[in-house]
């Protein structure tokens, strides 16, 4: 299993959106990473998280771990956590990914987005030691089979958003990274404008409406 571990320190993966084919390829062999093309088109990492959710699939979890654990650790370190604490927290975050996998809703979030929210909450626990009030829960993942077309549309919008962020002017992108990974005051955050969120917001809005209908 260890050969699946991310080779990022050496290969410096360029981010998930640079490869238009959508395949994740291990550079040395050109082998596609354990997912079929159809699954990959569904959205990055969705197949793995669904395998964890449905089958408690450890191999799928190992793939998620290889990609996300070091990135979560890096995120925590950029936020001012020392390496030992960041390591421990990244492990906690990945264990939460396993425990809560059934709450993931591909119609509302990409896997990266979902893991980001878990990591962010862990960071608030550790750095600020304050409570994080969360919005009232909507019943997550109420449908055993999420609507394929809606999930696909949301996953594609997430990809496009990532690509759009990568194309922002350098100073604007640096400011956004600082807001999310560093410590930017509320006043400074107000200077960030023009993020292209219109389409993805409409998609999420639609998914929320469906959820509300299923609740009544």
């Amino acid at each position: 299993m260890l050969q699946l571990l991310d080779k990022s320190p050496i290969t410096r993966r360029q981010g998930p959106l640079s490869d238009p084919s959508g395949f994740k390829v291990v550079p040395q062999t050109g082998r596609v990473w354990g997912v079929t093309q159809a699954e990959e088109v569904q959205g990055e990492w969705v197949a793995q998280i669904l395998r964890v959710a449905r089958d408690a699939d450890e191999a799928a979890f190992v793939e998620l771990f290889a990609h996300f654990a070091p990135r979560v650790k890096g995120f925590l370190m950029k936020s001012g956590t020392d390496a030992a604490v960041a390591e421990e927290c990244a492990q906690d975050v990945m264990a939460t990914v396993w425990n809560k996998a059934r709450q993931f809703d591909p119609e509302r979030a990409s896997v990266a987005t979902w893991i980001f929210t878990i990591a962010r909450n862990r960071r608030i626990d550790v750095l600020r030691k304050s409570r994080r009030p969360e919005p009232e829960d909507l019943p997550w993942g109420p449908e055993p089979e999420p609507d394929q077309a809606d999930a696909l549309a949301l996953q594609q919008e997430s990809k496009k958003l990532g690509a759009a962020i990568a194309l922002l002017p350098e100073n604007q992108r640096a400011l956004i990274e600082q807001a999310y990974f560093g410590d930017l005051s509320h006043g400074e955050i107000a200077r960030i404008t023009g993020l292209p969120l219109g389409t993805i917001k409409s998609r999420i809005r639609l998914a929320l409406e469906k959820l509300r209908q299923s609740m009544t």
């Binding site: 996998a101 979030a109 990266a112 980001f116 994080r132 919005p135 958003l161 990974f181 107000a190 993020l195």
Partner: protein, 217 residues
């Protein structure tokens, strides 16, 4: 129908985890009432997700330790993924995040009179900003006040008007330093609001200023 929403800076600040606890409370409470802002928030979360997944590993210490995967595998083998709890939210005046801070719904609030029939209850949050519930009897005005920082007012029940507009249930008013306003509860139903400030209020009149130490705001 909610007409006054959170702004992008508050949503992004909440998504990035950069707001004081009291601000997090009012944002989470508004989002519980407003799917439009919930969708906007989740699109800001998507920005965080894109940054996380697209990040490069720059420093060797960011790599997970050798035994890290084995440790996590040992942990997750103790239990399969949990079944999501699908409890129906309790209906009441306060959404869930606010109920957590009050310790119950409206009937659990321990009000203190602050004059003119107005009552308030300070909620326990970290000290970098303060949160309180405000009870304004129908037709009554809250004294003129300006504020040094930002003041957010979320209507939970009833409605008030001020120099800016009318604010009904779910509406949030974002008042900056420049705004000096006199909120008046609409005649009839009492108005209950969640108010959050990141600096102490200053009242314009002399008597309210004397009251300020007692108001603890």
């Amino acid at each position: 129908m909610i007409r006054h929403h959170l702004n992008d800076a508050l949503l992004m600040g909440y998504s990035a985890g950069q707001l004081p606890e009291a601000f997090n409370l009012i944002v989470a409470t508004h989002i519980s009432m407003c799917d439009e802002c919930r969708a906007r928030l989740e699109s800001f979360d998507a920005v965080g997700g894109a940054l996380l997944s697209g990040a490069t590993i720059d420093a060797p210490e960011q790599v997970m330790k050798n035994d890290s995967l084995a440790q996590v595998l040992a942990r997750i083998r103790q239990a399969p993924p949990e079944m999501p709890a699908r409890s129906k939210p309790k209906r009441g005046v306060f959404p869930a995040p606010l109920r957590d801070y009050v310790g119950g719904d409206l009937d659990a609030v321990r009000w203190r009179a602050v004059g003119g029939g107005v009552r308030q209850a300070i909620l326990p949050t970290a000290r970098d900003a303060s949160a309180r519930l405000l009870f304004i009897p129908g037709g009554v005005a809250v004294p003129d006040h300006g504020h040094r920082g930002t003041e957010l007012t979320l209507v939970l029940k009833g409605a008030f008007r001020d120099e800016v507009d009318r604010f009904g249930p779910g509406d949030i008013e974002i008042a900056t330093e420049e705004l000096e306003h006199t909120p008046i509860a609409e005649p009839g139903e009492d108005c209950i609001c969640l108010v959050v400030t990141d600096a102490p209020l200053r009242f314009s009149g002399l008597v309210p200023r004397l009251l300020q130490p007692f108001l603890k705001i």
